[in-house]
């Protein structure tokens, strides 16, 4: 009886609250307005695990859009695929004063295929609300429910995923039966979560975030895990597309992936087995054997992505890749692993976060389905070798900046194992240039530039190498912004050894490189290697400065000056040394030759936020030096 009354009171209270629910934009606390183009007024996200193959994901979000930059932040996109179905979508749009402007219903949503831009096929779809609101501010209330037929991975809670969005309140709840065990990982949460039991006997985990000021997109920020509020949940026992298993650590998760997803996928046709055996018969060094097999795989396959259901985690059969000649990262790694096995070489399928800008690692103390790419690890004795299997042109053992220097999960027959990929140091990522130019008294420049690209810079010119010569001749001008440049010769050579190098040789002329003014002659000192980075000032910066990869540029230019002229400028001599980099320039005369030496180095690392202004200043000074003009005068 008591309970009934209480429920009744709650109902009345609920009605009162909803009648008073005021979404007027003027009620947003003033301190949430700076840098915000939208404000989440309230958000409730609930994951309710009913059965391992039946999860309800419920979202109710009220968000006020302040200006047109906030239109995209309303997130009126509901994604689904073969394992997710949309149960309903409903909502309202309110005007500035919180009065209903219109109702949102599911039929106002367009249903479209989602394309990641590189997959041939994927089963992802989106329901997208396309009607618009044109007067600001306005408020959107959206509520939808998804039925999710798997428990292997749960959508993380990221209440402030978007930049320029402030949050008044966001609540995440995770409901499950008492015997359904979970583990979770909190990132930057202001308050710990709570656990309770509801009236149906379900466990209820709950987290709340409140009054979050809008964050800005600050250049050179570390990855989001380091400052963004986030919660990840992992199951103990799970079900996914006719597969099931359980894990509480990386060892067990890796074991499941190996046993359930990989083990039975390695058979290759007999002809290929024979071919591989013959191919490697005369080689004794296992590393050289592996190199031969890797190169065979590269010329036989190319990358094509197809993602459907468990196919998002499980590779195609090796025999399928053998026949079709293509596959995604999973398929090509599995195929390479299978070929290596034929030659008696063990290798491990490794899950990694591939990203050029951020070195994102598998979370050491929290096992869950992470990563977006697969690479292969060859655990030779005292010499671990790593292979990227989706690029047909990379040298054996070269990972590049997509997967270097981070923790990956190796799926071995004995289970999962966290490993670290190799790091490329600033001094090893080297662009070295040697140029010899002659300037005549009409201002024409002619000469050669020889460049070498090493370390991570090795594949800097990969896109040029792929091009036809006519296209190369057009595009090379982007790299060398020399006015009136006329390329007489351009060629590339690649040394694909374990320490790979790309060489670029150019012969060029450029009219009017130097400008004659009376008895004076002016020319730019450095036109072959200038900093091009356009950094902008960030007032009130919040995030530390993160430099993922360092590199070194080392240039030497020798100019033979036009006859009858002598140097009229002060010689340029600069040396700057900072924790994040250094820059030295010298300019010397030797007979009729002017010799210019330049070294620029950026170092990787994370630095405190005050360093950002230093970095701006550093780049300004480098830029000024790179843009220096030399004045000559007639004798």
């Amino acid at each position: 009886m008591m309970r009934r009354i209480l429920l009744f009171l709650l109902l009345i209270a609920g009605i009162r609250v909803s009648a008073q629910n005021n979404y007027a934009a003027s009620l947003i606390p003033g301190d949430l307005l700076p840098y915000a183009s939208a404000v989440v007024r309230s958000e409730e996200i609930t994951t309710d695990v009913k059965e391992p193959d039946n999860v309800t994901y419920h979202v109710k979000r009220i968000i006020t859009v302040l200006n047109k930059n906030g239109d995209d932040k309303t997130n009126l996109n509901v994604f689904y695929d073969n394992l997710i179905s949309v149960k309903y979508i409903k909502g309202f749009i309110y005007n500035e004063f919180g009065k209903v402007d219109r109702k949102i219903s599911e039929r106002d949503f367009d249903d479209e295929a989602v394309s990641d831009g590189f997959s041939l096929f994927q089963d992802d779809r989106v329901k997208h609300y396309s009607r618009a609101v044109t007067s600001y501010p306005y408020t959107v209330e959206i509520e939808y429910e998804l039925k999710v037929k798997q428990t292997l991975n749960f959508a993380p809670w990221e209440p402030q995923y978007e930049t320029n969005v402030a949050v008044e309140k966001s609540v995440y709840s995770f409901l499950c039966k008492p015997d359904f065990n979970i583990r979770y990982k909190e990132f930057n949460l202001p308050a710990k979560g709570t656990v309770s039991t509801n009236k149906d006997g379900e466990k209820v985990y709950s987290w709340t975030a409140q009054n979050l000021k809008a964050r800005r997109d600050e250049p050179w920020s570390p990855f989001e895990d380091q400052y963004m509020i986030k919660l990840m949940v992992a199951p103990e026992k799970f079900y996914y597309d006719k597969h099931s298993g359980s894990f509480t650590n990386w060892q067990q998760l890796g074991k499941w992936e190996y046993d359930d997803l990989l083990k039975s996928r390695a058979d290759v046709p007999e002809e290929t087995v024979q071919y591989i055996k013959n191919l490697t018969a005369d080689i004794t060094d296992p590393k050289l054997k592996a190199k031969k097999i890797y190169e065979y795989m590269q010329q036989k396959t190319h990358y094509i992505s197809v993602q459907v259901g468990i196919g998002g985690f499980q590779p195609f059969l090796a025999s399928d890749v053998d026949k079709q000649g293509y596959g995604d990262c999973k398929a090509l790694v599995n195929y390479t692993r299978s070929l290596l096995k034929v030659a008696g070489i063990d290798s491990w399928y490794c899950v990694v976060w591939g990203d050029h800008e951020e070195k994102k690692s598998m979370l050491g103390n929290f096992a869950s389905m992470q990563g977006n790419h697969i690479i292969l690890c060859l655990p030779f004795k005292n010499d671990t070798t790593w292979l990227e299997c989706t690029a047909q042109h990379l040298p054996f053992g070269f990972l590049g900046d997509f997967t270097d220097d981070r923790t990956v999960l190796a799926c071995t027959p004995n289970g999962g194992k966290l490993m670290r990929t190799p790091k490329y140091d600033a001094k090893d990522n080297l662009i070295k240039r040697d140029a010899a130019f002659v300037l005549n008294d009409a201002g024409e420049l002619s000469g050669d530039i020889e460049s070498a690209f090493k370390g991570l810079e090795y594949d800097d010119r990969e896109s040029m190498i792929a091009k036809a010569q006519t296209e190369r001749l057009k595009d090379i001008k982007r790299y060398y912004p020399i006015n009136n440049i006329d390329i007489k010769k351009l060629d590339y050579k690649q040394d694909k050894s374990l320490d790979p190098v790309t060489y670029e040789n150019i012969k060029l002329t450029a009219q009017e490189y130097g400008a004659v003014n009376g008895s004076k002659f002016y020319f730019p000192l450095n036109s072959i290697d200038r900093v091009s980075l356009g950094l902008h000032q960030v007032r009130n910066r919040v995030n530390p400065v993160y430099i993922p990869h360092g590199y070194t540029e080392q240039d030497k230019i020798t100019y033979t000056l036009p006859q009858g002229y002598v140097l009229d400028s002060e010689p340029l001599n600069i040396a700057i040394d900072k924790p994040f980099g250094n820059f030295t320039v010298t300019m010397k005369m030797k007979g009729s030759e002017l010799i210019y030496d330049r070294k620029f180095q950026l170092k990787d690392g994370t630095f405190n936020k005050e360093v950002y202004d230093d970095l701006l200043d550093f780049y300004d000074k480098v830029r000024a030096a790179d843009n220096a003009t030399v004045a000559l005068v007639k004798k």
Binding site: L120, S130, P481, G534, D620
Partner: protein, 669 residues
């Protein structure tokens, strides 16, 4: 789109075409499927273009109007192509196929039938092998209710392989567009042949686009090739062949590649009304088109009832008496009522009222709503059909509305003509976005005959800079930078500013354009007054020199808005340079030096004008003791430059870039 009604009693017609007819000549044939020669397999490179990574060995297309088993009339298009890969560089672009399938209503789809695809390659042992495409590996992606993509990746691609693909598409959409054909692509082709088989009931005009010439064209008659409900008709059988087609190379400052790629396009001219047997014009002259447009729901249907939006615009113009003020209010109202979905269109498919209620629409919805809103407010207005720069140029050989993809509004108030596009709320009244400035537009009025008008209006992009700096004893240059962006430059500047949430963030980002310059204070005016120039004033400080312990300083007077490199780098250009909008830039910088300094190398003023008067660049230098002034003017007077003006234009930009290197020297007296 209406389909003709067929009857059993049909007269026979012969399609008339501009090439002469040869009766009973042997018709062209598709090349055989499934046979590759040793020679083709062994080919190492293409001698006519050694830089090509792949080559189309042969390509054949055949389009015909035909009856289907379900007694519908369909356009059947067969495509057969064979491509040689010399290396692996083109696998990504040409080794996978995306075949679009269209449906106008989401119910009746085009049909892809009979896909045959084979890869011929040498296996590890060097033996020739064939790999067929596995039908299970053909994917259908339903992008939305109108568009489906059929996708597949060719199997077993290896260096030196040849792929061969053949498929057929049955389409119910043949009515005003017969199948077009592109002879040219980004790969070179040895041979590209297209056959068009058109029953006498339809007569299409063909037009060729691009700079290349056909190697051969033929026309024959196929007797009684078309049967419908027992009635028979002859067909015109046209064959176009282009051999040794070079790869198309994209160049900068061009409009759509479709303007330049060689291809054949069709437009229905007349057809037989099968109920009466009489020949009817489909679109012969503008009078017919005017009438037809007027009747179409998506076009005339939105304009005929001139007071359709009266209840909506009455409050908007309340209290306004003069026409211009009313027109501006209506324009602003439509701008603010819509969010453009970024799509071009020349009509309103679901009607302007529905679009207005949804607050979103394409260019057709928005601008036809604008025309009607203007007439509803009592201001005479017309619709102007245009082709956007991306869409390409308009075929004026014969009247057609198929080349248009966009519509704008035109009104004349007090003798002045205003062209209006309400898709972008940041456009001031009377300004058009760049995308509309292409060739000519056709002005349409429900009461009067339509007519052409030029789209390159008097619009200009105009920017002025006024900079005043003082060199202090601490080696710092301090002062103000003032920039005024008017007309089209004002529009672009507003768009840039509005990308940010606040002026502060905009100013922060501005600093990346002026390295070495710190902005201490900023003042930006007229961001929301669309008819006024945007004014920006920045109080700046440049850490120019580390102290004053030098005898001389170098100074580059180009502080902001540098061009840096000449955008024109080609030795020769085959296509016109299309900049869209003439422009003008005026720049003046005044520098006050400490008394003990003077200018060591006062530069000479220079002037360069293009022979055609299409553009000029002038610099000036004035020195008055310790104060000097440097200024320049750049004017581009035309929006399009012909290939003959290319060198002169390139030279103009060369002068600018060279001048930007000007290094002034301050020297201790």
């Amino acid at each position: 789109m209406n389909k003709p009604n067929f009857m059993y009693n049909m007269r026979k017609f012969i399609l008339l075409f501009t090439v002469s007819l040869i009766s009973f000549a042997a018709s062209a044939q598709d090349f055989p499927f499934g046979e590759v020669s040793q020679e083709e397999m062994d080919m190492q490179k293409y001698d006519k273009d050694t830089s090509a990574h792949a080559l189309v060995l042969n390509e054949h297309g055949r389009a015909r109007i035909s009856e289907t088993s379900s007694e519908d009339v369909n356009l059947i298009f067969e495509h057969h192509i064979r491509i040689k890969f010399f290396d692996d560089k083109e696998f990504e672009r040409y080794g996978t196929f995306d075949i679009p399938i269209y449906s106008s209503d989401g119910l009746v789809y085009e049909k892809l039938v009979d896909v045959k695809a084979v890869t011929y390659y040498r296996d590890d042992a060097g033996n020739l092998q064939k790999a067929d495409l596995d039908p299970k590996k053909i994917f259908r992606v339903e992008q939305d209710k109108h568009h489906t993509l059929v996708k597949f990746a060719m199997p077993a691609l290896r260096k030196g392989c040849i792929i061969e693909i053949k498929y057929e598409i049955e389409s119910p959409y043949y009515w005003n567009h017969f199948h077009s054909w592109m002879f040219q692509d980004y790969l070179p082709k040895l041979n590209s042949q297209f056959e068009a088989i058109i029953p006498g009931f339809w007569n299409y005009n063909a037009s060729l686009r691009g700079y290349l010439k056909l190697t051969d064209s033929k026309a024959t008659i196929d007797r009684e090739c078309f049967t419908y409900h027992g009635a028979k008709s002859d067909c015109s059988h046209l064959t176009f062949t282009m051999k040794d087609v070079p790869a198309f190379v994209r160049e900068e400052y061009m409009t759509s590649p479709n303007n330049y790629l060689s291809g054949v396009y069709w437009q229905l001219a007349e057809f037989t009304n099968l109920r009466t047997g009489a020949k009817e014009k489909y679109s012969k002259d503008w009078k017919d088109l005017d009438r037809e447009l007027k009747e179409q729901y998506w076009f005339g249907g939105q304009l005929k009832r001139k007071e359709m939006l009266k209840d909506r615009v009455t409050p908007v113009i309340a209290g306004k008496t003069d026409s211009l003020a009313k027109a501006k209010a209506v324009y602003t109202f439509i701008q603010k009522s819509f969010k453009w979905n970024e799509r071009a269109n020349d009509g309103s498919v679901d009607g302007i009222k529905k679009a207005l209620d949804a607050h979103t629409g394409d260019a057709g919805d928005i601008n036809l709503a604008l025309v009607n809103a203007l007439t509803s407010a009592g201001i005479p207005a017309e619709a102007v059909l245009v082709s956007t720069r991306e869409n390409g140029s308009i075929n004026k050989l014969y009247p057609t509305i198929n080349d248009f993809d966009y519509v704008i509004a035109r009104t004349s108030i007090g003798g002045k003509v205003y062209l209006l596009d309400a898709t972008d709320p940041m456009l001031p009244f009377g300004m058009l976005p760049l995308r509309c400035l292409n060739d000519q537009g056709r002005v349409f009025n429900v009461d009067k005959p339509s007519y052409w008008m030029d789209m390159n209006t008097a619009q200009r992009a105009k920017t002025t800079y006024n900079i005043e700096l003082t060199l202090g004893d601490d080696g710092k240059l301090k002062g103000n930078i003032i920039r005024y962006s008017s007309s089209y430059s004002g529009y672009l500047r507003r768009k840039e500013i509005k990308k940010y949430n606040s002026l502060d963030e905009y100013v922060d980002h501005l600093s990346s354009d002026m390295p070495g310059t710190k902005i201490l204070k900023s003042d930006i005016v007229n961001v929301d007054s669309l008819d006024m120039p945007v004014g920006e004033t920045y109080q700046v400080e440049m850490n120019a020199y580390d102290g004053m312990n030098h005898d001389r300083f170098g100074f580059n007077p180009f502080i902001i808005g540098k061009l840096k490199t000449n955008p024109f780098k080609l030795a020769r250009r085959d296509y016109p340079v299309d900049m869209g909008i003439p422009s003008e830039e005026r720049y003046i910088v005044t520098v006050h030096l400490p008394a003990q300094y003077t200018i060591d190398n006062p530069p000479q003023g220079q002037a360069f004008a293009m022979a055609s008067q299409g553009g000029r660049f002038i610099t000036d230098f004035q020195n008055d003791g310790s104060t000097f002034t440097f200024s320049y003017v750049t004017q581009i007077n035309s929006s399009v430059f012909g290939t003959d003006e290319y060198n002169s234009l390139k030279e103009l930009f060369n002068r600018i870039v060279t001048a930007e290197k000007t290094q002034l020297e301050f020297k201790k007296k």
